[in-house]
Symmetry: C2
């Protein structure tokens, strides 16, 4: 079968690799229907993260179960499943607390687990899924093709945007600012609307992303950044600042901006991987009682609820995919994400 392998900066190839096989009784084999490229895949692509040896990549996919190990109970061959971006056993104390990304036995696609066993990357034709019961979520029946993009978005970006909103305690009537207009930021808008936010200010300066933001429920757009952007938000909110700010970038500038637009006693929900000297301004936060909550989104824990809404037609995050390519063109998919000509690329197998 074929799967995406990263060799180094800007060197993405679709290689012939061995077919996956059940290696543990808790494994499943999933035939991939669709996968996608994540902003965090670009870290290795851009050389910010070193690629010491070629390895499989990708951590967002949906597909159909082909085989299951002897101990798997919750999914059966033939089931359509969504794989979140982290592997989790579903039974350890952290999984029971809903923080599946801190699972005692789980791990990451494309990386080795505690026993040295390598998990497959997700951008391939098939994947061995460890801890299938804990990791995968099946739909009740095979979904219509039109639902695939929305379901695929549940593997990462929608759950991550939702984590930002939940962490910032968005609730009915909240005033919300979303920092970042990538796929996660756009999904955070959807999540804030779903939780009943009254006002959703999207900080975005790119026309195509602004359009998606408005379609997803943004009530206001702010194109300015830095001090000017903060002043514009304050102006829109009558000088008070937002109840909840969803930080979906992770840089030093975006984090400071997020704290500055939040009202005293409000919360920043942050899900952008901290980079570029990002830090929390502790004295500002202390003086104004601005709280920060978030981190690596426990997408698996949110999947059942979000899936139910997608299946009912009440939630459609599929609009973040503005480019669909066959898996054979995965190198072009990375290039489009890298140049920001696409918001998010879906790969069809």
């Amino acid at each position: 079968m074929r799967a995406t392998v990263i060799y180094g900066p800007r060197d993405i190839r679709l290689d012939e690799v061995p077919d996956p096989a059940i290696q543990r009784p808790t494994d499943a084999i999933v035939r991939v229907t669709a996968a996608c490229v994540c902003g965090s895949d670009l870290w290795a692509y851009r050389g910010i993260e070193e690629t010491r040896r070629p390895h499989r990549i990708g951590h967002e996919f949906v597909g159909v179960v082909e085989a299951v190990g002897a101990e798997v109970r919750s999914v059966l061959p033939g089931d359509f499943v969504i794989a979140p971006f982290a592997i989790s056993d579903g039974t350890c104390q952290h999984c029971r607390n809903g923080i599946t990304t801190s699972c005692d036995r789980g791990g990451w696609w494309g990386a080795r687990d505690a026993d040295g066993l390598l998990a497959d990357g997700g951008q391939g034709e098939a994947v061995r899924v460890p801890y299938a019961d804990g990791t995968l979520v099946a739909t009740p029946e095979a979904p219509e093709p039109a639902l695939i993009p929305g379901l695929l978005a549940l593997s990462d970006v929608m759950g991550t945007g939702h984590h930002a909103a939940v962490s910032a305690r968005v609730t009915a009537g909240s005033t919300v600012v979303v920092v970042g207009d990538g796929a996660v930021g756009l999904c955070a808008i959807l999540a804030a609307r779903r939780l009943g936010a009254e006002r959703i200010i999207a900080m975005s300066r790119h026309a195509p992303r602004q359009r998606v933001a408005l379609g997803f429920g943004a009530t206001d757009l702010v194109a300015e950044r830095g001090e000017e952007g903060v002043a514009r938000v304050m102006d829109l909110l009558g000088g008070a600042g937002a109840d909840a700010t969803l930080e979906c970038v992770g840089t030093r500038e975006s984090m400071l901006q997020a704290v500055d637009v939040t009202r005293p006693g409000g919360s920043v929900g942050y899900v952008g991987v901290p980079s570029g000297g990002a830090e929390f301004p502790i004295r500002t936060m202390f003086a104004r009682n601005v709280n920060v909550a978030g981190g690596v989104a426990p997408v698996r824990a949110y999947l059942p609820d979000l899936l139910a809404d997608v299946l009912k037609g009440q939630l459609d995050p599929g609009g973040v995919f503005d480019l669909v390519l066959p898996l054979t063109e995965v190198a072009d998919a990375y290039a489009a994400m890298d140049s920001r000509t696409a918001i998010k690329v879906m790969l069809r197998t």
Copy 2:
């Protein structure tokens, strides 16, 4: 009348000062019954904060209303009142949000307000109280003398400990770690118990403070600090970390320790004024979804609830006062706090 004036490092004097008078229709004059010395008063006493010119000091007091301005509605001459450590008008958007320490018009005892009017310090025989309706809370009747220490603790340390517990979302059944065994840390133990915490681990190495901690509801004591202290807490909590950690110190070491003993998805409630290069370890927090919330405690907002419990005899934070001195010995009170021979000193007028 006499009031405490700070002249410079370790130079505290009880000076003769003019009697206070109503200067605005929203003022009240309070004859002080008892005041106290705060850990933060020691910043100026130790010279960490510069004292450019002598000024009145102290921000925790209780007393009896002597006179009120024409617009004051909620307190009357003769009322026994508690003054929180910050002045707040009770009507601005931040006060309505419960963050009285961010009041648009409020300010700090001993400092100038936006109009250049100087607020009195609290360690004196009488005090002019700005925004009396927003700032003061009256008891229904004159309290028994035995209640005075508990009521005085509501002016700062008890409300601040409570803010740590509320910010860290302590709830029935929580496992809690309290970092810091000063008066605020000890009150945080009381607050955690009041909110139903099941397990309260106090990190304390001083026998007299350990005794108060146990009396206030600590279930375990950990004398070790740093990595050793973290390991000991993890051992007590079965390797998981605490649901909620109450950080009541504010140094770099205490903040890192607080984050390290918190479980994935748990929260640090922090109320220690950040000092000594304190920072939040953003990458650790992101990886483990450890949240931080807190800041300058909006004590005024919590006062009615906490006061009700003190008056019912269900809450008694008065035990933090292990030394009572007359106001004439205020210099000794500072010295005792500075040398940590006293946990907290009460000054009787």
